[in-house]
Symmetry: C2
Subunit: 324 residues, 2 copies
Amino acid sequence: MIEIGEIEAAAARLDGISIRTPLLHNVELDDAVGGVVLIKPECLQLTGSFKIRGAYNLLSQLTAAEARNGVVAWSSGNHAQGVAAAGTMLGIPTSIVMPQDAPKLKLDNTRRLGGEVITYDRYTGDREAIARELAAARGAALVPSYDHAHIIAGQGTVGLEIADDAIRMKQVPDQVLIPCGGGGLSSGSAVALKSRLPDVDIFIVEPEDFDDTAKSFSAGKRIGIDGSARSICDALQTSMPGELTFPIIQQRVSGVLTVSDAEVRAAMRFAFRHLKLVVEPGGAVALAALLSGKLKTGGKTTAIVLSGGNVDVELFGAIQAEPS
Amino acid sequence: MIEIGEIEAAAARLDGISIRTPLLHNVELDDAVGGVVLIKPECLQLTGSFKIRGAYNLLSQLTAAEARNGVVAWSSGNHAQGVAAAGTMLGIPTSIVMPQDAPKLKLDNTRRLGGEVITYDRYTGDREAIARELAAARGAALVPSYDHAHIIAGQGTVGLEIADDAIRMKQVPDQVLIPCGGGGLSSGSAVALKSRLPDVDIFIVEPEDFDDTAKSFSAGKRIGIDGSARSICDALQTSMPGELTFPIIQQRVSGVLTVSDAEVRAAMRFAFRHLKLVVEPGGAVALAALLSGKLKTGGKTTAIVLSGGNVDVELFGAIQAEPS
């Protein structure tokens, strides 16, 4: 289990790289949901998503010997950029196994940030096996994208910042909505939020075709889903919750919501028109859940995490051009 | 002359409507300019631009009798939204004279926020005359878009927040770049910035075809330009600096920079790709000046104001689709 002390220690490590994001407020959004919404815009984060938090927290704790051999990760794109950027900051070589159909922006950025990119076919290849083989051959450490205590603690600093800023602003949330892929962000943030605000309700949000956590939550045990589904939310395509993340979610989360691709597209339009923020599909699921009325928001204070903003311009333009 | 006390009083009035924006930092932008850049994102502001600051500051100081008769303003769109929103908050009827070719988003939003919109032809009509006639007929007060002490003091809270946040963050800027139309934002912010940080250099930025302030600054007196030019920066199309704003600019500003439409478009692409912010053309001129190397930034700390984010989706999509 991850303790709040580990998240506070991660926050202290991250303090040196200045990645705290603000907690925003938008009247249009309040009007749309009939309550107060606090927005945690991790799209404004270094590398365009929260993933730098966990990656830096893990890489900065490697021994000198481990650091010399470099690290290997697998990722659909945001973790890749986080690992590449953290490696460059710390002088640690990074290699990342990525789907060949990952958004071009994510592939380009990972290389630009200093990562070696190895591509595979998302629907036929086994990225974890490719990464493990490569790591073994090089004597390199693996950097999992969610199921590792240091990753969970790093991502948990998102929840810690929400809680501390909300307390400072005297706008304590009744509920917090967090996007969920493998559960690193949501489990770590849940630990931090429940530690600071024991009465808060935490809801996690998944794409409806990648609802492994929803199914597992209902069943009371980890359940895998058919990973061949397609979703616009490239960042959230996991087929089973993590071994470490799921028990935390079971214990601290009040419920799991799912959203359709159409609801995500509408949320991205709302973000462009009213929030003036560029949010990627996977980063918009919590906003989508709010706007499509999956949860009672009237008269409540709700915090949401916009977890990333790395979206190709072609897809973004097509979504924005759709009628609202 | 506007004094710092008037800007502090405006900040106290605005405190009640919670419109403080954060001061952001982005590593990609630092890398691009070889220095540290502090970003003041007024695109995230209520109504999508800084204009609510001045409008609320003025409207909240009307007498009960004046408030009953309502107010009349003229605006290309951002001031319109600010006036409409402030009026609705304060229960004051608002009518705004707007160009019929203003961005559809700005026309729609002004109405949605509670303003009565009266359109005119930007290239043949005289918006000021139309507004004055209407105000006289109704006994309504005029709300100028920049040349009024309360408007200047309200917009000056942007500069005040930059200074106070930068001091708190221990990242005091060497220079600050501010978009300039009629000069309300830049003159008010210049007063606040020079009061808090006497050594800071302030540069204002205009579209190259609406360089009335640049020409006036060089000439040492207010000069009008041919107002029939076209620019992508619909928010900055003024043909002469204000009577009140220009002397402040003369006294406190170090220089006036101009940028081309192509430089503005490139800045909007940079904002989308790296800052994950939606910035409108006029809101992007300071960023454009930085990115196109109009000013030495290496080794310096530079603050920029992104003054608005109200852009139609068609134009935004077209600009983003252009090659970088």
